[in-house]
């Protein structure tokens, strides 16, 4: 063989050996597919907010970023606690483009976490949510649960990044692909309010309607990632408390001898985060006489993580005799229980569309109402409505049970006139004891079900389940559906699958083609030489002898 052919052969064989060695060192991981949850996308009075895109098809980048990195063609993967909010704010304010953002939410490690850690995570999550929900984000933002796969992925990305070049089509690395359909508007989102009655005992000669006491809780949530908005405390705890109170009073009311002279109305309302839109529509749907028959309403909002202090929020001044009486009943029971109930007065401004507490909607219809909550100050718009940090771990069954005891004892004393009689109606180990298993199982269920109202259809199985449960304890159960306030428009595509591929760069393919080409050429030459002789090989490349020469 000619020397150049030998050199070529030795180089190509050396490269082949190198490739084989490389293969032994790092055999690529297979593609992983993870479920990811998109940031909410919605329009508020025409202004677009939230993440406006859903498809990601970019190379992955990780923090800390190499200097001068251009992120408009990469998707940034960052664990929650490593993501500096100032960085994010800067990107949003300066309208710098990012290919995509994947935020990894820390999974709870149970007892290993201290209260400080949990508080820190909650603080960061609340801030992040506030930032993202109220801004227009032109690139896709996804949340995923942080696990070992992501740890390996981040480590690998760092390794590639530290070799000097940022990931792109020519240098290989990881590619994140989320193929989701274009997000479309949710057409005619509905809010469904569920109500049930426990009719009181109408005695002989009682021609007038019995007065009604209403117990209300809103069951829907709103958060940065609608597919993760389980709202365990806000307001899963309120819903569970309402169901347990309904169960207890249905036992009392099942026997005519213990049926009180009040009707009890239970309402599970929707549209809470949107200025209690649903409650307003629900009240409007009532006959005026029924509405006027409501003596007072107790609204439950976030009662799942308090230990000593509960707050009663009212819109009528505390000196009002009705409010005073109700507050005294609550105080008496709370003193016996060893907790305290404080009263907070917030005047409603009818011209202000912002409704911070549910009882304000009742007050606008001139019905006396109050809200029991562990929060001492009214939440801001779209805050404390079941966000990312509000998971099962942030609620405990004991608080809900305490709330149930407080409300049901005070209610029983009011209905049966047991003031100053020191009777525990719902005593432990009695047939009317509060059932912790019931509370726990419903709290667990609610903490597994994301309940953002526009994504709950009229015939959603969860609404049917609530209706069925309420009809076990009450009668005349009715689901009233209405359209959500026109100010809000929501877009779907809340969940998607992220595929992580390990890709080879274009240069690798070109190099491989080169090696392959040279291998085939060498093989060809080798075979021609061994079977036909060297002359034949040379003859292939020589021009046929020119006719001119022959002729001349």
């Amino acid at each position: 063989m000619s020397p150049s052919g030998e050199l070529l052969a030795s180089i190509s064989s050396a490269l082949a050996v190198a490739f084989v060695l490389l293969a032994c060192v790092e055999l690529g991981d297979a593609a992983t597919a993870v479920g990811v949850y998109r940031l909410i996308q919605y329009d508020l009075a025409g202004a677009p907010l939230g993440s406006r895109a859903a498809v990601i098809n970019h190379h992955a980048a990780a923090l800390p970023l190499p200097a001068g990195a251009d992120l408009s063609r990469s998707a940034l993967v960052a664990p929650l606690l490593d993501l500096p909010l100032s960085f994010l704010r800067e990107y949003l304010v300066e309208k710098k483009h990012l290919g995509g953002l994947l935020i990894l939410l820390p999974t709870n490690h149970g007892d290993k976490e201290s209260a400080d850690d949990k508080g820190k995570v909650k603080g960061v999550l609340t801030e992040l949510e506030k930032l993202l929900v109220h801004e227009q984000v032109p690139y896709p933002v996804y949340f995923a649960l942080h696990d070992d796969n992501f740890d390996n992925l981040l480590a690998d990305i760092h390794k590639i990044a530290s070799s000097g070049q940022p990931a792109s089509a020519t240098t290989g690395g990881y590619k994140l692909v989320v193929s989701s359909a274009e997000p479309r508007k949710v057409s005619s989102p509905t809010i469904s309010n569920i109500q049930g009655w426990l009719p009181g005992l109408k005695g002989e000669g009682d021609s007038e309607q019995l007065p009604t006491i209403a117990i209300v809780a809103n069951y829907d949530t709103f958060g940065a990632a609608p597919a993760l908005s389980v709202g365990s405390d806000s307001n899963g705890s309120g819903v569970v408390a309402l169901l347990e109170i309904a169960r207890l009073f249905s036992r009392l009311y099942s026997n005519p001898k213990t049926r009180g002279k009040y009707n009890i109305l239970f309402g599970l309302t929707s549209g809470g985060p949107y200025n209690y839109n649903g409650t307003s529509k629900w009240l409007r749907s009532f006959d005026q006489r029924v509405r006027e028959g409501i003596d007072y309403a107790i609204c439950l909002n976030s009662v799942g993580s308090w230990s000593n202090d509960l707050w009663m929020h009212v819109s009528k001044p505390p000196e009002n005799p009705y409010i005073k009486q109700i507050f005294e009943e609550f105080s008496d029971v709370s003193k016996e229980m060893g907790v305290s109930v404080g009263i907070k007065h917030k005047k409603i401004n009818v011209s202000n569309p912002r409704v911070a507490w549910e009882h304000e909607q009742f007050s606008r219809f001139r019905v006396t109402a109050l809200t029991l909550s562990e929060m001492s100050t009214p939440p801001e718009f779209l805050e404390s409505t079941g966000g990312l940090h509000d998971t099962r771990e942030s609620t405990d069954v004991e608080s809900v049970i305490r709330t149930v005891r407080l409300v049901s004892e005070s209610l029983a004393r009011h209905i049966y006139g047991l003031k100053e009689r020191n009777i525990d109606v719902f005593a432990e180990n009695s047939s009317l004891a509060i059932n912790p298993h019931y509370v726990r199982s419903w709290l667990d269920l609610l903490s597994r079900t994301p309940r953002v109202a526009p994504f709950l259809q009229k015939n959603d199985p969860f609404i049917a389940a609530l209706k069925k449960e309420l009809s076990e304890h009450t009668t005349d159960v009715h689901v009233q559906s209405d359209a959500l306030d026109g100010m809000f428009t929501f877009y779907d595509a809340t969940k998607a699958t992220l595929n992580v591929y390990q890709v080879a760069s274009v240069t690798f393919d070109l190099l491989f083609l080169l090696v392959l080409g040279s291998y085939l050429i060498v093989l060809f030459c080798f075979l021609v030489i061994t079977t036909r002789g060297v002359d034949d090989l040379i003859n292939i490349f020589r021009r046929p002898p020119s006719r001119k020469l022959k002729g001349a």
Binding site: F19, A23, L27, G28, A30, A31, A169, G172, K175, V177, N499, Y501, Q502, V503, A504, V506, D509, F512, L513, L516, L520, L523, F524, C525, F526, L527, V528, T531, R532
Partner: protein
């Protein structure tokens, strides 16, 4: 870019066959008909082997090395040899020398093997985004398989065509042929034999 990778791996897998055909005198004597017939015989052999494997072998419950199953696989491997015998001797070929006949048959056999075993995984897998070394390994395996088939065909032609073989070489020829025929079984058992032996030693230690 990933179609690029597919094309690369396809060239690696099927290129050598084409190169072999065009480089050697096979193309001059236009032996493509022989190769096609050999490919058809390979198809038949493969089907027979599959049926035998399905009937005779049991599904392994655990990953242990079962010598009886391996022996069974060796016997079924001989069907390969029978097929090659059929292709070399029984089919009518055009007037081509023994030399070229075995090459053409071997080439056709190896090409059919590559296409049947490797084309489908290549088409489905190599076009995806994810990069693995698997298809490059498959291509290298196809190359090795070509060499092995050609040598098996050569040994076959030596065994069945040459009537006046030198006496000393006969056992060597037959031994080599046996080795080549059982090569797939040997490679797979080489992989699993250490685990089998390890298992045996552990059970012996535990028993004592």
């Amino acid at each position: 870019m990933t179609v690029f990778h597919f094309l690369n791996c396809a060239f690696l897998t099927f290129g050598p066959h084409v190169v072999y055909y065009s480089a050697t005198p096979l193309s001059e004597y236009d032996t493509i008909g022989t190769s096609v017939k050999a490919a058809a015989v390979y198809l038949g052999t493969a089907l027979v082997k599959l049926v035998c494997l399905a009937t005779l072998l049991k599904v392994p419950e655990n990953d242990s090395f079962d010598p009886y199953q391996e022996l069974m696989k060796v016997f079924i491997g001989f069907i390969d040899v029978a097929g090659l015998y059929f292709a070399l001797t029984q089919l009518t070929h055009r007037n081509i020398s023994q030399n070229h006949k075995f090459q053409a048959v071997g080439l056709g056999w190896a090409f059919a093997d590559s296409v049947l075993h490797r084309l489908a995984p290549l088409w489905i897998g190599a076009r995806g985004l994810e990069f693995t070394w698997e298809y490059i390994f498959q291509g290298l395996e196809a190359n090795a398989n070509l060499v092995m088939t050609l040598s098996l065909a050569a040994l076959g032609s030596l065994m069945w065509f040459r009537k006046n073989k030198p006496r000393t070489l006969i056992p060597i020829i037959y031994a080599c042929a046996l080795l080549l025929a059982t090569m797939p079984s040997i490679t797979s058992s080489l992989v699993s034999l250490p685990y089998y032996l390890l298992g045996q030693t552990y059970s012996n230690i535990a028993a004592t």
